[in-house]
């Protein structure tokens, strides 16, 4: 058991779970892992060093270090082995019971080993000459038990807190991803409904198609927030969205697709390109009397994809880039960032008459 081990576990096991032999419900790290065994060895040695630094001066420092190390390594490794074996039953009981049981196991182990050490010394007979074995029996055993109790309790507390903290971090990350779930703008929804209401009589087959398109788009927003789509699927969703908007805006809306270069199998979080087109239309094209053209330009160089959405803006654009827009941009940026572990970016570039948003991410999948 060691401080070093605890830190390495708390940072690593987040990626490793779920695994069957380490139930996540218990706060104890997995002592069966090779990494953890190494941590136990190092931690035990550190403790041995500390104890020998404060140790008695009647034998030399190195002798003191040697004998305490020997005992600590035995204690550390056997305790780790016991906890490795007993983890499954410990995981089934409550935290309080498990804590008591672990303390009991470790203390019993210390008792057995301490007594063993004293007996071994007596049996070998030359203990006092070597300076390796304790002369007194009970003080030695009790001292070990007491130190063991304190150190084990501290470590358990540490494991417990870091386990709680990890849980908290994971829950937070999950809820952040959920909160970033793509949504349909109410403005778009109700306008589309209105368009469909109008088309039902004037052009029923177009109305039918619009309902199908709207259903596809909706289904995509109901997907798991963390799910990745292929570029092909995302482009298709964006085209579906465009089709619905064309019904409403007529020839005020043109979209220039320049995406032949893109690797269609590359993965990205669902509904990241579509909202960029939605923004371009809502903030760029709709306020323009004569409408305009949105350009969607895809480039792929090496292993990175770059997609830009460019729209014209009003000359006298007062604060048209308001709150909702910034939230949408931040949302997409965050999702790209989470999905590509810091490798996905979103940049906004605004010049006098145009507004350009570019997302970049590595090719995966």
């Amino acid at each position: 058991m060691s401080l070093v081990g605890a830190t390495s576990v708390s940072t690593n096991s987040a990626q490793e779970h779920p695994s069957k032999d380490s139930p996540d419900s218990i706060f104890l790290p997995n002592f069966c892992e090779a990494r953890m065994v190494l941590a136990v060895v190092l931690g035990s040695e550190l403790l041995a060093l500390v104890f020998s630094l404060v140790g008695s001066a009647d034998v030399g420092f190195l002798t003191e270090l040697a004998r305490i190390s020997l005992l600590m390594q035995w204690l550390g490794l056997t305790s780790a082995a016991l906890l490795c074996l007993l983890k499954p039953p410990l995981a089934r009981v409550s935290t309080g019971v498990a804590t008591s049981m672990i303390l009991a196991i470790v203390l019993a182990n210390i008792l057995v080993l301490s007594v063993g050490v004293v007996w071994a010394g007596r049996w070998l007979g030359g203990g006092e000459v070597l300076g390796m074995f304790p002369a007194d029996f009970w003080p030695f055993v009790f001292r070990n038990l007491f130190i063991g109790l304190i150190v084990t309790a501290l470590l358990l507390r540490y494991f417990f807190v870091s386990h709680q903290w990890r849980h908290h971090v994971e829950a937070e990350a999950r809820s952040r991803i959920d909160a970033l779930q793509a949504r349909i703008r109410p403005h778009f929804l109700f306008n589309s409904m209105n368009t469909i209401a109008s088309l039902t009589r004037s052009n029923p087959s177009q109305a039918e198609e619009a309902v199908e398109d709207l259903a596809d788009l909706f289904r995509a927003t109901l997907n798991d927030a963390g799910r990745l789509l292929s570029l092909k699927e995302e482009l298709e969703l964006t085209r579906i969205y465009q089709r619905i908007e064309m019904l409403r805006l007529g020839d005020r809306l043109h979209v220039d697709w320049d995406v032949k270069e893109l690797p269609m199998r590359a993965l990205l979080p669902g509904l990241t390109l579509q909202p960029l087109l939605e923004n371009a239309i809502y903030h760029g094209i709709e306020p323009l009397d004569a409408g305009g053209t949105v350009t969607i330009r895809g480039r792929c160089s090496g292993e990175r994809v770059e997609i830009s959405v460019i729209n014209p803006t009003e000359k006298l654009a007062v604060d048209s880039r308001h709150h909702g827009h910034r939230i949408a941009i931040e949302n997409i940026r965050e999702r790209l960032n989470l999905a590509f572990k810091g490798q996905g970016t979103l940049d906004v570039n605004q010049t006098d008459g145009t507004y350009e948003v570019t997302m970049r991410f590595p090719v995966t999948g």
Partner: protein, 250 residues
């Protein structure tokens, strides 16, 4: 058609929305549509010529928003009653609800249309200006309207160089000349805080129209207006505010 069908005008930038409203109105015997317009300026001209009783006005339109159109219409000698239509505009809807002003949500139901038409009312200017303040950025005016005899003259806000309060009116100095409008400087200053700056108790200047701030021999400040070469006196208490505004701009 029955004897005295009341006349209404439909204004919406989206063709399917216009068509649907036209069709709904056609089914109401006591109403007749005199046509539909796709934009605000066109709608104002049409109202001036045709004098409909009611205008069904979409809030979100390119160029001039429905709220702006309504504000200009309210300056006509016999303004029409106005019913706003919208798919979704949270701030505007809050304002309508708190003032019990009728509006229609798209897609519009026939019964709702009938009931709204029977309760249609002229909207007060105070309410309309409050509305555009609330929904600023979304619905702020791009024009101010001057009444020249019975006609409305729309002055683009971007062409205003300065406004001066006279006894009863405010005179607007703009690229196309000078006109009188019936609004207060305070109201205009609140509506366009990022465009206009007060340099004097009775003068608002467009920040972008200021070429230079000059100090004269006796320590007084003047702004020189771009292009015109005309200068306006800055009151002592506005100097520091004006300097910081100009500093932020450059």
């Amino acid at each position: 058609m029955t004897v005295a069908a009341r006349r209404l005008l439909i204004v919406d930038d989206e063709a399917p929305a216009r068509e649907r409203l036209e069709r709904l109105v056609d089914e109401l015997p006591e109403w007749t549509s005199i046509g539909s317009c796709s934009g605000g300026a066109e709608a104002i001209r049409c109202v001036e010529q045709e004098d409909p009783a009611v205008v069904l006005l979409d809030i979100r339109m390119p160029g001039m928003s429905g709220i702006e159109v309504a504000r200009h219409l309210s300056r006509l000698p016999t303004p029409p009653e106005v019913i706003f239509t919208t798919a979704y505009d949270k701030y505007a809807l809050d304002a309508f609800d708190s003032h019990a002003v009728g509006y229609l949500l798209k897609p519009v139901r026939r019964e709702r249309l009938e009931s709204a038409l029977s309760h249609a009312a002229r909207l007060g200017d105070a309410f309309l200006s409050e509305l555009s303040l609330k929904a600023r950025g979304l619905e702020r005016r791009r024009h101010v309207a001057a009444r020249v005899r019975d006609e409305l003259r729309l002055i683009p806000v971007s062409e205003i160089s300065y406004l001066r309060a006279e006894q009863k009116y405010v005179s607007v100095h703009h690229a196309g000349g000078d006109d009188l409008i019936d609004e207060s400087l305070k109201q205009l200053e609140e509506e366009f805080p990022d465009i206009l700056v007060r340099i004097h108790r009775s003068i608002l200047v467009t920040i972008d129209a200021i070429e230079a701030l000059e100090k004269d021999a006796v320590g007084g400040y003047h702004v020189r207006l771009r292009g015109e070469g005309r200068t306006l006196a800055v009151s002592r208490r506005q100097v520091s505010d004006l300097k910081s505004r100009l500093g932020a701009k450059r």
